[in-house]
Amino acid sequence: MSAPTFDLGTLHGGLRMPACKDESTARVIQHIPIPTQLVLPLAQHAGEPAHPVVSIGERVLRGQLIADADGMISAPVHASSSGKIVAIEQWPVSRRLGENAPCIVIECDGLDSPVQLSEPIVPFEKVDPESLLQKILHGGIVGLGGAVFPTAQKLMAATAESLEHLIINGVECEPYISCDDVLMREHAAEIVIGAQILLHALQLDHCLIAVESDKPEAIHALADALTELQDSRIVIKQIPTIYPSGAEDQVVQLVTKKEVPTGGLPTDVGCLVQNVGTAVAVHNWINDGEPLISRVTTVTGDGIAAPMNVMARIGTTIADVVNFVGGYTDRAKRLIIGGPMTGKAVSTDRVPLVKATNTILVLSETPAVGTEQPCIRCGECAQVCPILLLPQQLYWYACADDEAKLRSYGLIDCIECGCCDLVCPSHIPLTADFRMAKARMRELADETARAERARKRFESRTVRLEREQLQRAQELLEQRKKVQKAGPQAIQEILERSKSKDNSASEKDE
């Protein structure tokens, strides 16, 4: 049984790229044994970092809450295995900003004893949607597609909108990454049940599972699971293999033919997108009571002895993961967390595997990129841009730091997919320039907002001071009037009174 390719929207541009996934999908998911040490960053999600609720020296159990959500957008962190908290300290992590972040370090005892569940597991159909959303909030579940936005907050925000479809995103278009593919092959039933839970939580009755056409095994497995579970609300949609069709807005555009508006969210066109990994995490938490403490990660690249997909506990260091798969090869030169297009190079393998880590990519030498040359205005970049931007124009304005033009040419909408970089014959690092320009724009906006607030406060203070001065003058005037009204006799009386006071005071002194 397979899903037909039909009735799809179109995606402008994009690139067909070598998949490089066969090495890692050749084997089934391997479980990494519990390491001796786990490093759990407090900020593994978008939004505010969690705050620790354990102290150094405390013994924790698997699945125990060790850091609680803080603020409107945040997610809790749970102990991935049992052991003792040995430190809460700065540790190297893989992040866009900064090298170190506060982490909780657990020394594992190897027993992996689970924590007692605080409430019994009830079938999700019997729980009302509101409490189901509250429950998901406590599972530490975040979007595993890459953005790591806390899932519960995303769902809660979506319930306020009028939704049509739930889209389960199984599109994994970036080269080398195959963790979602193997997850769909081996855990199709969990994905479908996870989707059912999400449908119930959102009170929806239409779900699309989007999978690329180059993953026939995954489509088979999902179709089998669907037949077994007899759920007609869920439909598989097969979409063409092209990068970057897996990005959230692009998936929506492909499966529903609706374009997400500028600065908007998929909910604006009635869709909510969740990654397949997130669906499994929801299933594990709601049906098995296990919070998000492990994930499937692809370990691959020509710098890895035996590329494969592994199921690892969150917090396992990259060094431990690489050791498990047979270590580095002699050619290993660069360590990248994430895919080759959107990932980030890190300088040490002491960094932990976090909720966002979908791939550990170890490559040999830097690909031979030519030296940067002036733009020849060939327009190749505009041909491949999946969101119809004009990268070459944006490039001029980014160089000129022309914020108004960057805004009107829609830089905000750039998804940083990197297609324009790849096709540029002058080897201009366009995406890097756009990232920088975006960061500058954000900084400027922050500064402007702050200046605006300071201006308002200064102005209201000026008004207040003027008012106070006026009031004081008024008071003085009234006092003077009072005295004048009372006449010279009253003044004489007052003077005498003060004189007698002075005399009595001097008598006392004597």
Binding site: R450, A451, R453, A454, R455, R457, F458, R461
Partner: protein, 164 residues
């Protein structure tokens, strides 16, 4: 061909006359210009320019043709923006020891504070909370880092800390 030349020249002349009339006879509303110039200033209200705040300085630039290079927190960028807005030349910042101060905030050492309210009166954005003979504190989110509260403090209990 002559028709075209004459027509274009006539149009250019007419447009030129109209524009020069507009720029001479219809000066921009001064209040609007002050607000625009004020919007380009960093609003630290530090008074280093010699005026008691950003708006007074903006007014001086517009009404008294004050120099545009007196704002140390704004630095080169502000001078560039002011020059562009007012059609003046970009000039280097007037020599000053101060650099970008808006990156830091004032912090009161609460053990030393005697509650004199002098700093509260000096703060241009009302970012200091406190009452007479009670400990004062600074609202870090509102502090512009102008350092105006440092001098009035009789016990030197205020210091500047990096905002990050």
């Amino acid at each position: 061909m002559w028709i075209a030349v004459v027509t274009i020249t006539a149009i250019a002349l007419a447009a030129g006359l109209l524009l020069s009339f507009a720029s001479r006879r219809l000066p921009p509303n001064d209040d609007d210009l002050v607000a625009t110039v004020n919007g380009l200033l960093p609003q630290t209200q530090c008074a280093q320019c010699g005026y008691p705040g950003c708006r007074p300085y903006a007014a001086a630039i517009v009404h008294e043709s004050e120099e545009i290079n007196l704002c140390p927190p704004g630095g080169k960028e502000t001078i560039r923006r002011l020059a562009k807005c007012l059609g003046r030349d970009v000039i280097p910042l007037k020599a000053s020891t101060q650099t970008r101060m808006s990156d830091s905030v004032a912090v009161i050492n609460e053990a030393l504070c005697i509650g004199c309210t002098h700093c509260r009166a000096a703060c241009p954005v009302d970012a200091i909370v406190g009452a007479h003979q009670f400990m004062h504190t600074i609202l870090a989110a509102e502090c512009t880092g102008c350092e105006l509260c440092l001098a009035p403090c009789p016990v030197d209990c205020i210091s500047m800390k990096s905002a990050a």
